[in-house]
Symmetry: C2
Subunit: 192 residues, 2 copies
DNA sequence: GAGGTTGACCTAACGCTGTTAGGTGTACGC
DNA sequence: GCGTACACCTAACAGCGTTAGGTCAACCTC
């Protein structure tokens, strides 16, 4: 049996992370303090340092977690559909993923936290997400690196506009299918 | 003659604003303190409050200034060219504008500063930028609100990816012409 | 079961942040 | 030349992330 101690430790880590997510959603990605997180789990701020080496380490764990969630989403994309439907679904799921949790989106894709950059381990997860994206696009016949870059610009652009300028509406989400059609018309016409 | 005092006051405001921009470019949009700005202009932090009501007011003045610069850029777009060339030039200038000064871009288009939202006066400037954009797109025959939204998503997406993921290269800037062609092929084919 | 160790948590404190209060001297308008 | 208004200062506040050092209970070993 793995140490009861170790399990308890992991559970407390989880509790801290959950509290951080909760506060980030309530007050904005950078709108919370360690003292608040500590209060949320019934501790004082310095005690958190037994679980995370710094506030940045908490952001890093959140980054890894968000990436893992997106990775799971990418793996759940159905493989047997029509390529157009496939990409439409993928784009829509991505934008919904972003809109559903704006702080998570900002942490993963915008460089919003002042000193923060993901650790190599966490960044590797983000790279793997990109790898899955490449695979999905390849299923639809889109393989060039330029096309992948254009895709990321397009879908993150839609997500950014939606989150920043119409957080409670669907003004840009509604454009996703149209944008995918535009993209595919252009990329599949000149397959190179 | 307008008060020498008033002129001197305005000059000091400028000096403070320039120092804030300089520090933002050096250390990131939110990576500077009032004490640093004050030191830069030979004062102590509390003295800045004679010129700006808060740090947020400095951000607001920066927001207004950035918007004015973008407005000037929009007004400089040549009106007599071929519509495709026009939009290509406009998109390229926009992305270059963003890449040239990432903190300015983040201030104007990402919601990066924790508590900050532009004042109504500053926001009006940003709205005017959008108005100019609509006019430019109309020159090329693009008039629907959905098409304008798709345009903003596309060009801000390119800019975001460029600034966030390849700040010193041209990986996404190089896609601007291609993206504009893709956009126009789609929007002009179905003109309604 | 007693003893020693380890780890969970605490208080106190550091240097930093934006901001306010209150004081001093000087440059200006009359 | 005088009185005022302004430019700037120091001191201080509460809050921030973080470190140092201490206390107490839970666990492992005998």
């Amino acid at each position: 049996m793995t140490d009861r101690r170790a399990r308890r430790h992991e559970a407390t880590r989880r509790e801290i992370l959950d509290a951080a997510w909760r506060l980030a959603r309530e007050r904005g990605l950078t709108g919370w303090s360690l003292r608040e997180v500590a209060a949320e789990v019934g501790m004082r701020a310095p005690s958190l340092y037994g679980y995370f080496r710094s506030k940045e380490a908490i952001y890093d764990a959140m980054f890894a977690e968000g990436s893992a969630q997106l990775l799971a989403l990418a793996d759940a994309v159905p493989r047997e559909a029509d390529p157009v439907d496939l990409l439409r679904a993928a784009a829509r799921e991505f934008v919904d993923f972003c809109v559903a949790d704006p702080p998570r989106y900002q942490l993963l894709f915008l460089r919003v936290v002042p000193g923060f950059a993901p650790s190599p381990a966490s960044y590797a997860l983000a790279e793997e997400v990109l790898e899955r994206l490449r695979a999905i696009l390849a299923l639809a016949g889109v393989t060039s690196e330029r096309a992948v870059d254009l895709w990321t610009a397009l879908v993150t652009g839609l997500a950014t506009q939606q989150v920043s300028n119409d957080p409670d509406g669907t003004r840009w989400s509604d454009l996703v299918d149209h944008a995918v059609d535009m993209f595919l018309a252009s990329e599949l016409a000149t397959p190179r």
